[in-house]
């Protein structure tokens, strides 16, 4: 049989080549870099705007709760933009969905950096997800600020000079929870319910520093697999009467539900990450057609806190967030996740101010290293930023969830560091936010 396609293909190829040659002539020249004027001081910065980006799970298993974080951040940036922005520049915030899937994260961040040409990453979420792009962001020299995860990976100034943590890391949280259990439940048999990645691992490390001899079982679940029956059954079989969970919110609901199925009723302590009563309650309440009420299930559960949240409506910071959300929020209520996003956005505005009137990627990293330790904001505790440390907030307090959705403090605000650093009480008064709700950081020099 004769191949009719041969000539067609040749012609097509020729046409393609010619077209490409023509376009290449047009696009060959490099854009001249605008050095003068200081208006467009770096990638993503123009005279009017600074573009920042982030990746969040807007779909999938981690989406409940976490998908609200960027809406909070966006509301706060809009609030700042409405007041004239930072040094006259509006903050453009682009966030994309990675479905908590590291492979997606890699593609999404590629788009943010190469297509959207962001100035910096702000608050990219997740340990497995963000670690997939750590190398790319650092080798592309994109500031990678305030990762929404408490992994220890973000504090490696030598290998990853662009990356900064934000929330208290899981080891710090695990240590404080561990010490609390050691002091208050010295006879408890402790079970650990852990997400099977660095999140669970770092938390376990922190907890074991204090209660290694009390731990009778450590069970791990794979995120994505919604059947945690075997894990909870194993904790029960090991006789654990106090369970510490380092897990995401969906799994708090699943573990509570499974425990109920097994009539297993230990004292639960969840990491701050997975304990939002409003969210977990809403997931739980619909099971069993209201036979399980939201407040009933999480009442008495312990967790930690480092930001004033919706349970403290009279706190000056919560009032500010409410004001921001009322003016610039979208659908839905103010939630702890939105507050988290706003608090991160607040920190970014501080960092941008610290970087001076002509911010550069290098400049914002240096500014955080030099001044980050002194920044004060929505959190009870200071950051640990310096040239040698890119670790975020330094501590938490232990609280108990009350029936009404509020919390009661069980410990003072405690601060510590990684490794052998002792846990100490943080006594500094938590300052109220500035009157206009926008930080006013003066750049050094």
């Amino acid at each position: 049989m004769r191949r009719p396609g041969q000539r067609g293909l040749a012609v097509g190829a020729l046409a393609t080549i010619v077209t490409l040659l023509i376009t290449s002539c047009g696009a060959g020249g490099r854009p001249e870099e605008d050095q003068g004027g200081g208006s467009a001081s770096d990638v993503g910065v123009t005279a009017e705007s600074v573009k920042v980006g982030a990746h969040f799970p807007l779909t999938g298993v981690a989406a409940p709760g976490y998908s609200e974080i960027p809406t909070g951040a966006k509301a706060y940036f809009d609030f700042v933009n409405a007041a004239g922005g930072v040094n006259g520049r509006r903050i453009d915030y682009v966030y994309r969905d990675d479905a908590y899937n590291p492979t997606n994260t890699s593609q999404v961040v590629n788009e943010l950096v190469l297509q959207d040409e962001i100035f910096a990453m702000v608050g990219g979420l997740g340990t497995p997800t963000h670690s997939a792009v750590l190398d790319f962001l650092n080798s592309s020299e994109v500031p990678d600020l305030f990762v929404s995860s408490g992994s220890l990976l973000w504090d490696q100034p030598e290998t990853n000079p662009q990356t900064f943590g934000w929330q208290p890391d899981y080891e710090v949280e695990g240590k404080i929870i561990g010490q609390y259990v050691q002091q208050n439940f010295p006879d408890a048999k402790v079970g650990l319910f852990l997400q099977d990645d660095d999140f669970g691992e770092d938390g376990e490390k922190g907890a074991r520093a204090y209660i290694d001899d009390q731990i009778v079982a450590a069970e791990r679940y794979a995120p994505g697999n919604t059947d945690v029956g075997p894990q909870v059954a194993a904790l029960q079989a090991a006789g654990a009467d106090l369970v510490i969970g380092f897990n995401v919110p969906s799994y708090t609901a699943l573990s509570q539900l499974t425990a109920m199925r097994l009539n297993y009723d230990p004292q639960w302590i969840y990491s701050n990450v997975g304990s939002d009563p409003a969210l977990v309650g809403s997931l739980l309440s619909r099971f069993s057609e209201g036979q399980v009420t939201d407040a009933a299930l999480l009442q008495g559960v312990m967790t930690t806190e480092y930001l004033p949240g919706v349970d403290a409506p009279d706190n000056a910071w919560t009032k500010l967030w409410q004001r921001v959300w009322d003016a610039h929020g979208g659908q839905g209520q103010l939630s702890n996740y939105r507050i988290y996003g706003m608090a991160q956005a607040y920190t970014f505005v501080q960092a941008l101010q610290a970087a001076g009137p002509d911010p550069t990627r290098e400049g914002i990293v240096t500014a955080l290293e030099e001044m980050g330790g002194e920044l004060r904001g929505p959190a009870f505790v200071p950051y640990r930023y310096s040239a040698d440390s890119h670790a975020g907030l330094s501590g938490v307090k232990v609280v108990r969830i009350a029936g009404t959705g509020g919390t009661e403090d069980l410990s003072p605000v405690l601060v510590t560091g990684n490794g052998d650093t002792e846990i100490t009480e943080h006594t500094e008064e938590h300052a109220a936010p500035p009157e206009n709700g926008i930080p006013n950081v003066q750049p050094q020099n």
Binding site: P4, G5, Q6, R7, G8, L9, A10, A13, T16, I17, L20, L21, T23, S24, A27, G28, R30, L58, T59, R96, D97, N101, P102, T103, N104, S106, Q107, N110, E111, L114, Q115, T127, P128, S131, A132, V133, L134, D135, F136, S139, S140, D196, D197, D198, A222, P223, G224
Partner: protein, 349 residues
């Protein structure tokens, strides 16, 4: 003008294919040099889809075996590459070869089981493969990194390549561009090998097996062996694709090899036209360039970002059904039909 002088088209098939691939190389260089880093990275993504799809189209289109398990085979290639590239001891080209070889070995196993199955049974079994294999990475988390996977330090261009590149184009070689070069050179190589294989005796007997098992068996062909061979060739391609994926994505993690990946590959080969390498290329281009376009349309029409992101899979699904119902030959089948009609009309004039 109608008949191209015959001397422009070499007699030998190998030479002809070689010429085609060289022309392809020129096009690839031109395209990569004239497009933005973002397009480069999209093209790099397209290259690994296309490598896997080219392998799949040989298996499904030529030999009639469906596989929903190619995602799992890509995972084998990706993890092999990730393990080998740890510690910078192994050059990436060697790692890719080993990845292809290891995956081919796995392909012998899978193919041996698959050669005894057909149609829906084969589809179901390979579906189970695709769903099951990522679990291994979680079970052996000490070695394979669990849910978080293994991060891959993507290769940096060697000095001679960067120099040569600068010499030719007077431009810097970005990492996205370098990865795209790796992907596309691999793809061209794969196409060259597959095109020759398809035109060879193997291609003919594979088709014979697909079209009539009984007749092929009567003609003395050993069906089992031929089927396994097709699977091995296809698996080696999937392994190479996995290797490129690992380097481009900089990660080998279970979440990258879900059933969605396998179904996407199937979509690519069906839409492009089963059994056609050009179709596999076309299909892979759709996988990469369609989602952003459709998503933009969706957000333009007032959908939220999350909803709009689901439009692309919706289109894939609908297109799969429509293609099977209306044009089982896919895009290349349609093209061929139009081309023939054109010729016939030309001839009757």
């Amino acid at each position: 003008m109608r008949t191209l002088p015959r001397r422009f088209v070499p007699r030998s098939l190998l030479l002809r294919n070689l010429l085609g691939v060289l022309a392809g190389l020129v096009v690839v260089v031109l395209v990569l040099e004239t497009t933005s880093p973002f397009r480069n990275s999209q093209l790099a993504t397209m290259s690994y889809y296309a490598i896997a799809a080219a392998g799949l189209t040989v298996l499904t289109g030529l030999n009639g075996q469906i596989s929903l398990g190619h995602g799992a085979l890509m995972a084998v290639g990706a993890y092999t590459t990730a393990l080998l590239l740890e510690g910078d001891a192994v050059p990436f080209s060697l790692a890719m070869l080993v990845a292809a070889a290891v995956t081919a070995l796995v392909g012998i196993l899978v193919g041996a089981a698959a050669s005894r199955l057909h149609g829906p049974y084969l589809a179901g079994a390979t579906l189970a493969l695709a769903v099951g294999v990522p679990g291994l990475a979680i079970y052996f988390d000490g070695l394979l990194g669990g849910e978080q996977g293994l991060s891959v330090r993507s290769p940096r261009p060697p000095d001679w390549f960067a120099d040569a590149h600068y010499f030719v184009t007077a431009g810097d070689l970005s990492s996205a561009k370098y990865l795209a070069y790796i992907g596309w050179l691999t793809l061209l190589l794969v196409i060259l090998l597959l095109a020759n294989l398809m035109a060879s005796r193997f291609g003919r007997v594979w088709r014979a097996v697909r079209d009539d098992e009984v007749a092929a068996e009567l003609a003395g062909l050993r069906l089992g062996r031929l089927r396994v061979l097709a699977f091995v060739v296809s698996a080696a391609c999937a392994g190479l694709a996995g290797a490129v994926l690992a380097m481009v994505v900089r990660l080998a993690a279970p979440s990258g090899f879900t059933i969605v990946l396998s179904l996407s590959l199937l979509t690519a080969v069906v839409v492009g036209g089963l059994g056609s390498i050009a179709g596999a290329l076309l299909g892979s281009a759709l996988l990469v360039f369609l989602p952003p376009a459709v998503t933009n349309l969706g957000t333009g029409a007032g959908l939220t970002g999350v909803q709009a992101a689901q439009l692309a899979p919706l289109v894939y699904g609908v297109v799969l059904v429509v293609v099977m119902l209306l044009a089982p030959g896919g895009a290349m089948g349609l093209l061929r039909r139009f081309w023939r009609r054109g010729i016939n009309q030309g001839g009757s004039r």
